[in-house]
């Protein structure tokens, strides 16, 4: 059940036996498309209820507890509610861009799923420039935000979009630098190579203090890149009502919301892959017996466990730190994180050349 690579292989073999190669490929594509859509929807539902439950327990209250057992079906009920809400388009809005923006947000976050290794030998496409691809596609999502804010013809939307644009492009730099640290250590841009390089220990344990610094910077930067508190200036509800999606309602709003939550999952998945070994079980050097015991836990559980742990950490940030002001936010990036990560890159180069890592 948990051996995802085995399942995909048996499906592929079955298709190749039953159909001609062209049809087998077509059916395979349809299966991939449907399963990605399913993953998207399920992730959205799970992350929304997780967010609400985590924040509730951090504030010593129960959170949603009416729909379903312990309120676990609440997000399903919310989806149905959003489905029957009317989606408004303001009269003075730029209607074409207004309707295009949610599609671009969805396409960008869907395409980010391509190189992520969900389990051992289970990847949609293991492309040789995986890390560069992730960095490139993740900057497309800012276009959808700017588009939504600009086309709404609303001051709150425009301000929120501008802020979020400045914030996302700024923090992309330090996220890129901390990703680069792992590329230096493992010497490859391919995701599967990076995971295999962690066979005798995850980079966060193997790489000494520089990798720890890079990991912390990465966490801060992706929190800012996904517009989550304490960096949620783009939708600071006390000053900008809802930021760039003030004018969005109904299903268009739901698509933005879904893309945002899936983006959180994806950046945490990237963090888990680069620093915490992706689907690689907890291995310690040459301890054969220990490594063998850890191998018994399926690789998909390792990946999703690490990813959801990072998601929990990011949700934890939200209820721990107060929101930053825009000048503080840009100061933090340009005057602290960026110089630190540049120096950190030099340190990591030194570690890699001297072979100081384990």
């Amino acid at each position: 059940m948990w051996n995802l690579a085995g399942i995909s292989e048996s499906i592929q073999n079955g298709l190749n036996r039953a159909l001609s190669p062209a049809w087998a490929l077509t059916v395979e594509m349809i299966i991939v498309g449907i399963s990605v859509i399913g993953l998207f929807a399920v992730l959205g539902l799970i992350l929304v209820i997780m967010e609400r439950k985590v924040s509730a327990y951090m504030q010593v209250r129960l959170g949603p507890n009416r729909v379903g057992p312990k309120g676990m079906l609440q997000s399903l009920a919310d989806t149905v509610k959003l489905l029957v809400k009317e989606g408004l388009t303001p009269d003075k809005a730029d209607k074409f861009l207004f309707n295009l923006a949610p599609f671009i947000a969805m396409i960008a976050s869907m395409l980010l799923l391509v190189p992520i290794g969900f389990a051992k030998n289970f990847q949609i496409w293991d492309l040789n420039i995986g890390v560069l691809y992730l960095a490139a596609i993740s900057s497309v999502s800012v276009i959808s935000i700017l588009m939504a804010g600009w086309s709404s013809n609303n001051k709150y939307s425009l301000l929120g979009a501008m802020r979020s644009g400045a914030q996302i492009v700024s923090y992309e730099l330090s996220a890129g630098f901390s990703i680069l640290a792992i590329v230096i250590l493992s010497g490859s841009l391919r995701i599967s190579d990076i995971v295999m390089a962690q066979e005798n220990g995850w980079w966060i344990f193997k790489g000494h203090i520089p990798v720890l610094i890079a990991f912390v910077i990465f966490l801060v930067a992706v929190t800012a890149e996904t517009n989550r508190a304490p960096f949620d200036l783009a939708e600071a509800e006390s000053e900008l009502t809802a930021g760039f999606h003030t004018e969005y309602s109904g299903m268009k709003f739901a698509l933005f919301f879904l893309a945002e939550y899936v983006n959180v999952f994806i950046v945490c998945g990237i963090g888990a892959t680069l620093f915490l070994g992706g689907w690689m079980p907890l291995h310690i050097g040459t301890w054969k017996a220990f490594n063998h015991i850890m191998d018994y836990i399926p690789s998909s559980i390792w990946f999703f466990g690490k990813t959801f742990f990072l998601i929990f950490v990011i949700m934890w940030f939200r209820w721990t730190f107060p929101r930053l002001r825009i000048d503080q936010l840009l100061n933090l990036e340009w005057k602290y994180l960026l110089p630190i990560s540049m120096v950190n890159i030099l340190l990591i180069t030194l570690v890699a050349i001297m072979q100081w890592h384990f």
């Binding site: 594509m29 991939v32 498309g33 990605v36 859509i37 929807a41 959003l82 489905l83 029957v84 809400k85 009317e86 408004l88 303001p90 003075k92 969805m106 396409i107 976050s109 869907m110 395409l111 391509v114 949609i124 496409w125 492309l127 890390v131 560069l132 960095a135 013809n153 609303n154 709150y156 939307s157 425009l158 501008m162 400045a166 492009v169 700024s170 730099l173 890129g176 680069l180 590329v183 230096i184 010497g187 490859s188 841009l189 009502t241 003030t246 004018e247 109904g250 299903m251 739901a254 698509l255 000048d327 840009l330 100061n331 340009w334 960026l338 540049m342 890159i345 180069t349 030194l350 890699a352």
Partner: protein, 116 residues
Amino acid sequence: MGSSSLIVLALAAIVFSAGAMIVSRIFVKRTTNPQKGEPYECGIPTEGSPWKQFSVGYYLFALIFLIFDVELIFLYPWAVVVKRVGWTSLIEIIIFFFILFMGFLYAHKKGALKWM
């Protein structure tokens, strides 16, 4: 799955979003009201158009970002070969970072990183 997966996933995103919108259009009960089309502004009629000038600070940060982003792309091929090239790569990157940092300091001195 190869490069076709990009097209498949983009199509999946479009099908999913368009499908959700079509389904919601079936269920929604539409009502018309002139006030529904107005921009949301806490009940007060909108004053002027938002499509006007906004703070130049955003442009400045975008310009500095552009420099650093291009430099980050230059670093990717370097990062892959660091271990093979050895000490030369470290010296080269120190020179590269030095020039870049001078530019960064210049921008800082000019006040481009100060929020207005």
